[in-house]
């Protein structure tokens, strides 16, 4: 375990540095935060003063060194926009974001697994076509459409769930479904194509020759073997969700990282963007590690690679 962590760290640290440099440069390329912070009536002199106050008048590399030195001491700097330390701003969004991402993932899996398997087992039948059609709709209809439709149907017409906001369990159902449907769509297709491959493997025939019920043959013997690429995509999807549920967050007024990130990017709020990307990168890396662990659990052969 220790060794593994050390090895991961050896790769993580340079990646984090790389990311911090890229983000630093990117944010600076996109524009001058001062232009966004001051009213249009501010004079050039006002701007210079503010720039100096924020340290933006220094050469870029110098700014970066100052920045990275502070980061190494655990200080991610202050948000231009909120005037507060950046890291807590980001951290305080994480629970909402994780909650939404996790439940959405769960919903995606619960929908996609049976659909994908049925689709593969009943390949090229009407059922398969229907599932394909639904999953394309799930993918081709944007999240805002899906979200608003769900609100209109389940909140306004049926009164089953609250419209928006974060709160109890009932609040997460609609936003999670909105995202989950899109995730399910992609996973369904992937599971289908995997299952097709697996179902023609010899060991499936072996399972049948044992007299197992078809449900077990497919659900036990085929399914787990087909999970590896699905897990890859799932971890990709999950990590994408960590910063990328803006549309759904907006529709459901969900105070997640997506909104913060977009506001910060739009405001060129360097410190927050950096802190957010730092956290997201950590999540990406931790997820990749977890995925590795899950791989090993799913497929004992993985060790041989």
């Amino acid at each position: 375990m220790g060794q593994y962590l050390v090895r991961m760290l050896l790769q993580v640290v340079p990646v984090m540095f790389l990311i911090s440099i890229i983000v630093f440069v990117l944010v600076h390329v996109t524009g001058d935060p001062v232009n966004l912070m001051l009213p249009e009536t501010a004079t050039e002199e006002d701007r210079e003063i503010l720039r100096a106050a924020l340290g933006l008048d220094q050469p870029l590399y110098q700014q970066y060194f100052v920045y990275i030195k502070n980061v190494l001491q655990g200080d991610f700097g202050n948000s231009f926009h909120y005037g507060e330390p950046a890291l807590p701003l980001v951290l305080e969004r994480l629970p909402a974001t994780f909650e939404l991402a996790a439940v959405a993932m769960l919903i995606g899996i619960v929908i996609a697994v049976p659909c994908g398997m049925i689709s593969a087992v009943k390949r090229n039948t009407v059922l398969d076509v229907i599932i394909s059609f639904l999953s394309v709709i799930g993918k081709a209809m944007p999240n805002f459409w899906m979200g608003i439709m769900l609100i209109l149907l389940f909140s306004v017409s049926l009164g089953l769930f609250p419209v928006s906001g974060r709160g109890g369990v009932e609040h997460i159902v609609l936003p999670a479904f909105t995202i989950g449907i899109g995730l399910a769509a992609q996973m369904t297709r992937l599971i289908r194509s995997n299952m097709l491959e697996i179902l023609s493997q010899d060991y499936i025939r072996t399972a049948r020759s044992k007299g197992l019920r078809e449900v077990l043959v497919v659900g036990r013997h085929a399914f787990r073997n087909g999970l590896i690429p699905v897990v890859t995509i799932m971890s990709l999807q999950f990590t994408s969700l960590i910063g990328g549920t803006l549309v759904t967050e907006t529709v459901f007024a969900w105070p997640g990282l997506g909104q913060l990130l977009v506001t910060s990017v739009n405001m060129r709020d360097m410190a927050v963007v950096q802190a957010a990307v730092f956290i997201i990168a950590l999540v990406v890396i931790v997820c990749n590690m977890l995925t590795d662990v899950v791989y090993r659990y799913l497929d004992p052969r993985i060790k041989y690679n």
């Binding site: 340079p14 390329v29 394309v136 081709a140 459409w145 297709r189 890859t232 990590t239 963007v273 957010a276």
Partner: protein, 292 residues
């Protein structure tokens, strides 16, 4: 024997014909492509011609519809049918173009990472991690600042944010394919690395590529609309399905048709692409031909 060979040459078409879904997909895709090409001749109106007074009229079967606007009008009173017809152009170009760009970049990098391993693997996969962690919005804004708006920029921006998933999946495939004996056999024959990569490994990951790409067409068409929102994509009066969708966003509750029709257009097109892709995958795989 002679006969058999002749039969083989014609099988491609007959295979398409025999595959119901494949031909359905082909028909859909062909239809959309034709619509895009012949848009000016088909569309009943100028897609940009607006008449705010006639805004938000419903499609023909609903009360209050205008007979001259079959699928109703949008928020500025433009004819939705005409916009759908013209919108197919940008959407198709972006959908296909961006998928190709991300597919090419991602596949290439995935190939290299998987094939060469070692430092190129670390370099590429960590870069992928970085790309994955950096918000795409930021990348897009930078592209906007550096390259300036336009259709090509749009395609490249989408391509550059989407390559990661290709790279990951392709790399995984390559890792297993490169252990197969036929790759060794090619090496034994003295094949160069390029030959190994493109002649032996690449064709064997095509099916993965196709499965990924089918759904990605939908993703990119939708992404185009959010980029247009950032000012990176096309500008009015040009029209695309994505922009139609986002224009209709605030009217979903009151005038569903504004956003639902372009959504359906995307759905049907992607469905066509996917059916065609499934078929293509089978055709590209000589083994599958036999059992369709």
């Amino acid at each position: 024997m002679e006969q058999q060979i002749k039969k083989r040459k014609t099988t491609l078409w007959s295979l398409l014909w025999n595959s119901k879904l494949g031909s359905l997909g082909a028909i859909i895709v062909l239809f959309v492509v034709l619509v895009a090409i012949f848009a000016p001749w088909i569309a009943p109106y100028d897609p940009a011609a607006l008449d705010p007074i006639k805004r938000l009229k419903p499609p023909f079967w609903m009360e209050g519809s205008l007979p001259e606007h079959l699928l109703g009008t949008d928020n500025l009173g433009r004819d939705i049918l005409s916009r759908l017809i013209y919108g197919s152009r940008v959407s198709l170009i972006v959908g296909v173009g961006a998928v190709l760009v991300s597919g090419l970049v991602g596949t290439l990098l995935g190939l290299l990472a998987g094939y060469y391993g070692k430092w190129s693997n670390i370099l590429i996969m960590r870069t992928a991690d970085a790309f994955h962690a950096i918000p795409s919005l930021l990348l897009m804004l930078v592209m906007l600042a550096v390259v300036g708006p336009g259709l090509t920029t749009l395609i490249f921006v989408i391509g550059l944010t989407n390559w990661v998933s290709y790279a990951r999946v392709v790399r995984g495939e390559v890792l297993s394919i490169k252990e197969r004996d036929f790759v060794r056999a090619a090496r034994a024959a003295g094949a160069s690395n390029a030959r190994m990569l493109f002649k032996h490994i690449l064709p064997n990951i095509m099916s993965t590529f196709i499965v990924l790409s089918g759904m990605n067409v939908a993703t990119t068409i939708l992404m185009e609309s959010s980029l247009s929102f950032l000012g990176l994509g096309i500008k009015p009066p040009d029209v695309s399905w994505g922009t139609m969708l986002s224009d209709g966003k605030q009217y979903i509750a009151t005038s569903w048709w504004v956003s639902t029709f372009p959504g359906l257009a995307i759905t049907i097109t992607v469905l066509g692409v996917i059916f065609l892709g499934d078929w293509l995958r089978d055709v590209l795989d000589p083994r599958m031909k036999a059992n369709d």
